[in-house]
């Protein structure tokens, strides 16, 4: 299925135009594959211009802009981050740990202004230097319909151990 490339007319008759579960899942799985394959340039194109990518520290935080986060990326920081990870000059990402992730436990809800909120669970396994680590996370997506299909207008990845010591991470969650 090629949700990303598909052009869809918004269905004006639906009250909230909530993105159906199947489409949301397909989008999120495609994104997960991009991240595991480190196809970061393509990942940048999945975003709206004003979308923010957040890896918070505090688990009950709601005002991320006013808190210290592990990552708080607007479009400019995302592009800079991708450039860094792909540059070959960052020793933690050249190569980074290998990753495999799955997402599940999807819950789709209408948000404000045509935004669809998708909450899900992510299990990621990373491997580097003889060591395998498992990282669980709650992920909340803000998805919107665009001419090209679906775009991310926000992604918050709350790691299970976000407020405990992590390690140098050379990839994207």
């Amino acid at each position: 299925m090629s949700t990303l490339e598909q052009t869809r007319e918004p269905k004006m008759t639906e009250p909230h135009d909530v993105i159906p579960l199947a489409d949301a899942c397909a989008f999120i799985w495609r994104e997960a594959e991009m991240l595991d394959q480190q196809d970061y340039k393509a990942w940048l194109d999945l975003w709206t211009e004003k979308g923010i990518y957040v890896i918070p520290i505090e688990r009950d935080e709601t005002d991320y802009a006013s808190a210290l986060n592990i990552a708080y990326d607007d479009a400019g920081m995302r592009a800079a981050r991708v450039k860094r990870l792909k540059s070959g000059f960052s020793m933690s990402s050249a190569p980074s740990a290998r990753t495999v992730r799955t997402t599940s436990r999807f819950v789709v809800e209408p948000g404000e202004d045509g935004v669809t909120i998708v909450r899900c669970a992510q299990m990621l396994v990373e491997f580097k230097f003889e060591r395998t680590r498992v990282v669980g996370a709650d992920v909340v997506y803000r998805l919107v319909r665009t001419e090209g299909g679906i775009a991310m207008d926000g992604k918050v990845v709350t790691l299970l151990n976000s407020d405990e010591p992590l390690w140098g991470v050379g990839y994207l969650f």
Binding site: A65, Y72, R84, S87, F89, L166, W167, G168
Partner: protein, 421 residues
């Protein structure tokens, strides 16, 4: 080479310009360090803003030992071992918070924030045998300097201010980042790396690695800011401050944040400056805040576990011989403009922490040191760079090149002193 199991022999492992690889990987040496260093000196446990109110507490460590930093209702700061005096359960597992009492979850002994044992459930069974005054949470000697809280197991140690000595002046300069407001902790990044704690200790005054390891950070900056971070090219220096402490000045212009306030406001702060003007701050105040928000120009390394590092506190905690926990504590202005503190947090996130543009590469480098130290048992770690003092340097006669390994030599001489005492 055979490792000496006990005292005396440690001195042979540290020479003037090199230290033996065993210092990174011998578990017996690590155990001795926890005893002879971390139980014998002033160890940083927190900042006063982390226990802001009566009843505030935060968890911390002295070496490997978990402690709780508290502020009592008399406004006194205490540092208590996090261990019930009955059968040892931790009495606190929350990172920070507010309380009037710590109740042990196992059998319910309860302790005040000064550590006093207040109540023991069903105490009559003890008959006359339990004198509550004999079983407080163990309280460590605690002193502060300019908001930094230190604790020690060594009751007869010199006063903190004597121990800090020449470092005090630099702590005072560092705290100018409050821009006239008290300095406040805004949050912290935490991560571990698979390597010995001294690898991090060395790194705090290692400008040599910066342009190499942090190339991708530098590449992410605008041209003006990239020039500011040309750390080797601005006439900076490294200096031994005594007692294992050292100073590395990378950006001399940013040593004193209250100077040069009439310099043009850098482009990356233009928006913040405008926001502050719109909020009604006077021009001089805007300049002071904006200059402070960007952080200072030096790293002050305090032996053995904390550094005032440009714009944040860098704290290390030895976990085991080949594992170390790092905290990068973000600071800002207590009562200052929110916009300024928000920008400080964004700048902190840019470089620091598990996903910053800088720290993961540092952590990887340190892990590579530990991995490399697995071979060449008889080899030495070289810290001989830049031994000669600089001639005619404005900072004085004893300073060395900004990329010199003077800070590491200072720390290892202190290590030697403490390990062979």
């Amino acid at each position: 080479m055979d490792m000496p199991a006990t005292g005396g022999g440690f001195a042979d492992l540290v020479q003037d310009d090199r230290v033996h690889t065993a210092l990174y990987k011998d578990p017996a040496i690590f155990d001795e360090e926890m005893d002879r260093i971390f139980k014998n000196t002033w160890v940083w446990v927190g900042h006063v803003s982390e226990v802001p109110q009566k009843g505030s507490f935060k968890k911390s460590w002295v070496g490997q030992q978990p402690v709780i930093v508290t502020r009592t209702k008399d406004d006194e700061i205490h540092v208590l071992l996090n261990r019930c005096r009955h059968r040892a359960a931790t009495v606190c597992e929350k990172m920070k918070g507010k309380t009037s009492v710590f109740v042990c979850p196992y059998h319910g002994w309860s302790y005040g924030l000064d550590g006093k044992l207040r109540a023991v459930p069903h105490s009559s069974v003890y008959g006359e045998d339990l004198d509550k005054s004999q079983f407080p949470l163990v309280s460590l000697r605690t002193e502060q300097y300019n908001g930094m809280i230190f604790a020690t197991f060594k009751d007869d140690i010199e006063p903190l201010e004597d121990f800090l000595g020449g470092a005090k002046k630099w702590i005072d300069l560092f705290m100018k980042q409050g821009a006239g407001y008290p300095v406040k902790v805004l949050g912290e990044h935490q991560f571990r790396f698979g390597g010995n704690w001294k690898i991090q200790l060395e790194n705090t005054t290692d400008a040599y690695h910066f342009p190499i390891v942090h190339k991708t950070f530098l590449d992410s900056l605008d041209a003006e800011t990239e020039n500011v971070f040309d750390v080797l090219g601005q006439g900076g220096w490294v200096e031994d401050l005594g007692n294992g402490h050292s100073l590395m000045v990378m950006i001399p212009d940013l040593v004193d944040l209250e100077e040069n306030l009439d310099a043009p406001i850098p482009e990356r702060f233009a928006e913040l400056a405008q926001e502050l003007r719109d909020e009604g701050y006077e021009d001089l105040e805007v300049r002071r805040i904006v200059r402070a928000v960007g952080g200072g120009g030096f790293n002050l390394n305090l032996f053995p576990n904390v550094a005032c590092s440009m714009a944040f506190f860098r704290v290390l905690r030895p976990v085991s011989v080949d594992e170390t926990e790092i905290r990068h504590v973000a600071i800002g202005m207590d009562g200052g403009p929110e916009a300024g503190n928000r920008m400080r947090m964004r700048l902190h996130e840019h470089f620091q922490g598990p996903m910053g543009f800088g720290s993961p590469d540092d952590a990887e480098g340190w892990e590579r040191v530990q991995r490399g130290a697995a071979s060449g048992d008889d080899l030495w770690i070289m810290v001989n760079r830049g031994k000669e003092p600089l001639v005619d340097h404005p900072a004085g006669e004893a300073v060395t090149d900004v990329s010199a390994e003077t800070g590491m030599r200072a720390a290892y001489q202190m290590w030697k002193r403490m390990m062979s005492a």
